[in-house]
């Protein structure tokens, strides 16, 4: 079945498929863990049950997202051994310990305290429970720290010594390896992306429920919090992205040339191409629509700054331009749209129409999955852009694969596609189902009855015995506000 195919290409498709699938989950869970910590902290500080209700609404979703993230992540690690054994053998002494720290963090901070977060409220008390939530949030961040350190080292490898057998060995200082030149930029850009992804999912869910019921105080609260996040973080993310781009320009210029679609060098200022069809064979950008000098202004902060093009890079060192060029544009367009939504919500807030502007709510709903697409495009830009290398400038992707035949790689790829779509489709369907239910007073048994009698006099049950009904006690409604 796979006899005519290239084993290397299949191995690359397998890694691209599994890592793309995997990253959707941490992109959401990193932000959601922090959001949960904020919600619980606000509940403890203010005593307002709306925060606890929202915490309980999102913690169920977090648990599923986290579980799917861990399972898909474990599969990633095993692929290093199955399909990329040469890479593992050569780079293992450097990246192995860093990945081990990530696994330890995932196990002992994230997964361990997740149990306390989900099941421990009635056993450990509120403050210890909050501590567990903070540990989960810290765990997601620390986990991202180690994984991004590994990935960044593969993009900008420093601090290593080359052994006689071609192995990369750690040099004098692990600090140089961990904090390699692209790591700080990559970490900030990725974590902010995760926060924005979460903000837009939370905002989209809030918007959906506001469209159904503007008076839903829980939907109002989550929409407001999400829009604050979009307003404040989107501009910071754009600045972080710009700095990341400048860092890439310094260390991986060919990637930036591909992002810009610059096949030719521009000695008197380079245009920014808004549109174009990259043509690697002819080494030109077809149907190009560009804004003169803008690329020089962005990358060098000078109108006439010269920019080298791919004509200065040997053919066998060039990344495939089409995917990088378009993935970068889609990511940037989504970033600008996020900024637009943030500013729009600020205007709506100022006009007192944040909860009444249906068009804003519809736009936020449409933008709900945008963060996932943006992070996917960001990773495509950076990973395809560093080709043909897996360890930049040192180890080619083609030289890093396991000596396997195409049927072996193809069969496992097919298995992954079938299993992933089956297992994760069910998980994603369940998450969507949870999100489609409106958050309510007394979410998952929260303390709704706290402010009123448990049972009213007489035979007919009082409203407090129907948690979640629209008809709540005035005191409970007031508290939820």
């Amino acid at each position: 079945m796979f006899d005519g195919l290239d084993a290397l290409l299949l191995a690359r498709i397998q890694f691209a498929f599994t890592v793309s699938f995997h990253f959707f989950f941490p992109a959401f869970s990193i932000g959601l863990a922090s959001y949960l910590a904020v919600l619980e902290g606000l509940w403890l500080k203010t005593g307002k049950s709306v925060y606890l209700d929202l915490f309980k609404y999102w913690v169920k979703i977090f648990a599923i997202v986290f579980a799917m993230g861990v399972v898909s992540g474990i599969v990633m690690s095993y692929q290093f051994g199955t399909n990329w054994s040469v890479f593992s053998d050569l780079a293992g002494p450097v990246i192995g310990p860093l990945m081990a720290y990530e696994v330890l963090t995932a196990f002992f901070l994230e997964a361990g305290f997740l149990g306390v977060m989900l099941f421990g409220m009635n056993k450990v008390g509120r403050k210890l429970h909050f501590f567990a939530t903070l540990m989960v949030a810290a765990g997601t961040f620390v986990s991202a720290f180690w994984i991004l350190s590994v990935n960044s080292w593969m993009q900008t490898p420093v601090g290593y010594e080359m052994a006689a057998n071609g192995q990369f060995l750690p040099g004098d200082s692990w600090i140089a390896i961990i904090f390699n030149p692209s790591f700080p930029y990559r970490l900030v850009h990725t974590v902010l992306a995760a926060y924005l992804t979460t903000a837009f999912v939370v905002g989209g869910v809030g918007a959906r429920h506001l469209l159904k019921d503007r008076a839903n105080s829980h939907a109002r609260k989550m929409f407001s919090m999400a829009m604050w996040m979009a307003t404040l973080v989107a501009p910071i993310q754009i600045m972080a992205g710009d700095m990341h781009g400048l860092n890439t320009m310094e260390h991986q210029p060919a990637k930036v040339m591909a992002m810009e679609g610059h096949y030719e060098s521009h000695p008197d200022g380079a245009p920014f191409y808004v549109f174009g069809i990259p043509n690697d064979e002819e080494q030109r950008l077809d149907y190009a629509v560009g804004i003169p000098h803008l690329s020089s202004l962005i990358l060098k902060h000078e109108w006439d700054a010269p920019l080298a093009g791919l004509d200065t890079i040997p053919d066998d060192e060039q990344p495939p331009v089409f995917m990088v060029f378009w993935a970068f544009r889609i990511m940037v367009a989504i970033g600008v749209a996020m900024l637009g939504i943030g500013l729009w919500s600020l205007f709506a807030r100022w006009r007192g129409r944040l909860y009444e502007w249906n068009l804003l709510h519809r736009a936020a709903l449409v933008m709900a999955p945008s963060g996932f697409l943006a992070v996917l495009c960001g990773w495509i830009t950076t990973e395809v852009g560093r080709q043909p290398y897996v360890i930049y400038g040192l180890l080619r992707t083609a030289d890093a694969a396991s000596p396997l035949d195409a049927p072996a790689v193809g069969a496992s790829l097919l298995a992954f596609i079938v299993v992933y779509f089956t297992v994760f489709s069910v998980g994603i369907w369940y998450i969507m189902r949870l999100m489609s239910a409106a958050p309510k007073v007394g979410e998952m048994g929260a303390k709704r009855g706290d402010t009123g009698p448990i049972r009213t006099a007489g035979i007919t049950p009082g409203p407090t015995q129907n948690p979640g009904d629209a008809d709540v006690l005035p005191a409970a409604k007031e508290e939820a506000e």
Binding site: A106, F107, F108, G115, V124, L128, R448
Partner: protein, 49 residues
């Protein structure tokens, strides 16, 4: 009635001695880590029997 039971359970949890609450935390933490370890082992056996 679940909400009122939950409130009572939370209040009772807060009144328990710190050592008891820490003990519960350690127990749940260990069970969670063990569960994830089991999942990882199953996937490992599946991929590399």
């Amino acid at each position: 009635m679940r909400s009122s039971n939950e409130v009572v359970a939370q209040q009772e949890a807060g009144e328990r001695p710190l050592l008891q609450r820490l003990g519960w935390m350690a127990a749940i933490w260990l069970a969670s880590v063990a569960t994830l370890g089991a999942v990882a082992m199953v996937i490992r056996w599946w991929l590399a029997p």
